[in-house]
Symmetry: C2
Subunit: 349 residues, 2 copies
DNA sequence: TAGAGCCTGGACAACGTTGTCAGGTGCGCG
DNA sequence: CGCGCACCTGACAACGTTGTCCAGGCTCTA
């Protein structure tokens, strides 16, 4: 008995009205399979007449090339992955968009996912993207151990980290100058006469938060001001806790006269607290945010260019892809102090 | 002469250090190819001992399943596409994130792209996603003719449109109640005593803009107020033009006493213009935005829930995928008027 | 007009995975 | 002790595409 082709195997697990393939197009146009491939890919060596026939068959059948099969054959997917913390965070929108634009200019698509600041989820996502055989990966780390990516990198997946460095592996990373930015911001407050300056920021295990704290300390030390513990509030993330921390600093016997906010979420909450109180307190925040100029007073910030972070990272990624291996590098982008009023208030009381 | 395996063909176009395949794992573990497949996919029917040997080989080689090949074989990609206007726009961040979460809960990845409000680019993107064989497509239309998607939909690509309806094809669409929201917002102004109310909005060829304009007219008509042409400014997009339009309305002999802003970009610019002037003008904006409550006065808005739009659309998409074909439906989500002060100002002058 | 060379088109294998089926082993039961 | 059954395991084809090679027809030149 001859082997039978098992009908049920022809389209396993598919509910689709079978899509036409190149074979179908070839049959309809009365040409060979490879000729269709040539037409679809614009390869030379097809007479105009044949090309026309093939094109007609394509249109008639509504054929669209199956890129999965193409990828399988060619080894490259023309897509890159982006793992970030939260797409809904306004900081990451422009970053993501910038990565997308660079990808687009290289003919690649962008697949992205949010880690929700969960290391395990970051890992899952990154590995899922690798299983899809993305050509490269841009990662905004949530975790601090990225050794799980070693086999992937060895296998040729270009990888660039953004915003925070990779943990326990040597890889390209693009950062803002968190230390310098924070130091400048705090120095700005000091220059306007403040000495009791509060710092509210994220957990120091997060690299950016640690660097900004270091910047704060450096500026204070440069000015010869000893920092008191009660001026610093670390690991504060939820709006409620930021609120409480700010209120505490402001209700001491010798309250702070200025606050440096470690990121935009903190800044916004502090603005709210200050708006409720009567005392005039200076404020500089890390990260710019929309409408900061419309508040009264306008909020002085240390701005980082999130689009530039994304663009730089993506360009670096494609340089890896085009040029083969290059030594991992750490690229630091400058921040910019934008004065709008809140940071120039003199100490009150 | 026997056929030779052409070495150059083994890894066409690939610069990778060859990735291990199931075959390699099988060889190393001393088992058959299919057994590896079974272990990788957690299929039953493998002795614990065999499983352990395979697992060790997997770890040793750093094997990761090639999902492209899997997709080719299975017909489903477990990924969906999202075509939106601009990821960097704060309105789309939460929407995109909501789609991602739903996708994730269905085990799917999200591939997204920005059309930059260009119909041709929308088309390219959507078709590129189809070529990747995404299982479904969520589209925020930039163009107004989506017949190009017909073959795809026929071939089984689930499709849902969001924010604006599809053009010239019959498909699922999830919208905000733009008409009702705008009517309520304008009625709110009328209820606070305004009669000369300006409207600044986008080009009426954009569905949302047209609907909001219709809502404005309806509210005015309900109140028996004849609308004057000079109160309406349509097709205004750039901040400069919004600025000019607002200034004109306010410098008429009989200036408007209130403005209804057709979207968040317009609202923000109008806030700026009003902040510069001395006259007190009421304002209601369509779309909420961060910090609207922190401005003085707080900005009253008609809020749409962009996350709910995304969530609803994605859920609908997966219902299509799970349940087969269902009749296209138009789902309209309610908007919510949030009063914060700017919309409750009485007419001045 | 014959031969050389070019151009077009097609046959075939291979990419890495999964579904199907068949073979083999060991165990329990009669 | 033998038969049947359950359970593992592996061989094989197929998914849709592209790279390579070859065949055949054409043109051009000597």
């Amino acid at each position: 008995m001859p082997k039978t082709t098992h009908r049920a195997d022809r389209h396993p697990g598919s509910r689709y009205g079978n899509r036409p393939t190149m074979k179908d197009v070839a049959a309809r146009a009365g040409v060979g399979l490879k000729t269709v491939s040539r037409v679809v890919n614009g390869e030379p060596g097809v007479t105009p007449d044949t090309e026309r026939r093939v094109q007609e068959a394509i249109d008639a059948l509504g054929f669209r090339r199956n890129d999965s099969a193409r990828v399988l054959r060619k080894g490259r997917t023309a897509s890159i992955g982006l793992v970030l913390e939260d797409l809904a965070d306004p900081f990451y929108g422009p970053l993501s968009r910038a990565v997308e634009e660079v990808a687009r200019s290289h003919g690649a698509l962008l697949i992205n996912g949010s880690s929700a600041e969960d290391p395990e989820r970051e890992r899952e996502l990154a590995l899922a993207l690798c299983a899809r055989r993305v050509d490269g990966l841009v990662v905004i780390p949530a975790g601090d151990d990225h050794r799980y990516l070693e086999p992937e990198i060895r296998a040729g997946v270009a990888t660039v980290f953004v915003d925070r460095p990779a943990g326990r592996i040597d890889a390209d990373v693009v950062l803002s100058d968190n230390f310098g930015g924070a130091r400048d911001g705090v120095a700005h407050l000091i220059a306007h006469g403040h000495r009791r300056i509060g710092f509210i920021g994220d957990m120091p295990r997060i690299h950016t938060a640690a660097e900004r704290l270091r910047g704060y300390r450096a500026a204070m030390e440069d000015a010869g001001i000893p920092v008191e513990d009660r001026w610093m509030s670390l690991g504060v993330t939820s709006p409620e806790r930021v609120r409480r921390a700010a209120q505490e600093m402001l209700s001491e016997p010798e309250p702070v006269t200025a606050v440096f906010a470690g990121n935009n979420r903190v800044t916004v909450t502090v603005v709210r607290v200050l708006a409720e109180g009567s005392r005039q307190v200076a404020l500089v925040g890390f990260d710019d945010f929309e409408l900061a100029d419309l508040l009264r007073p306008g909020v002085t910030v240390v701005a980082q260019d999130s689009a530039a972070l994304g663009r730089t990272a993506a360009e670096r990624l494609f340089r890896q892809l085009d040029g083969g291996l290059i030594a991992p590098e750490r690229i630091e982008l400058p921040t910019r102090l934008i004065t709008r009023g809140s940071g120039e208030l003199p100490p009150a009381g």
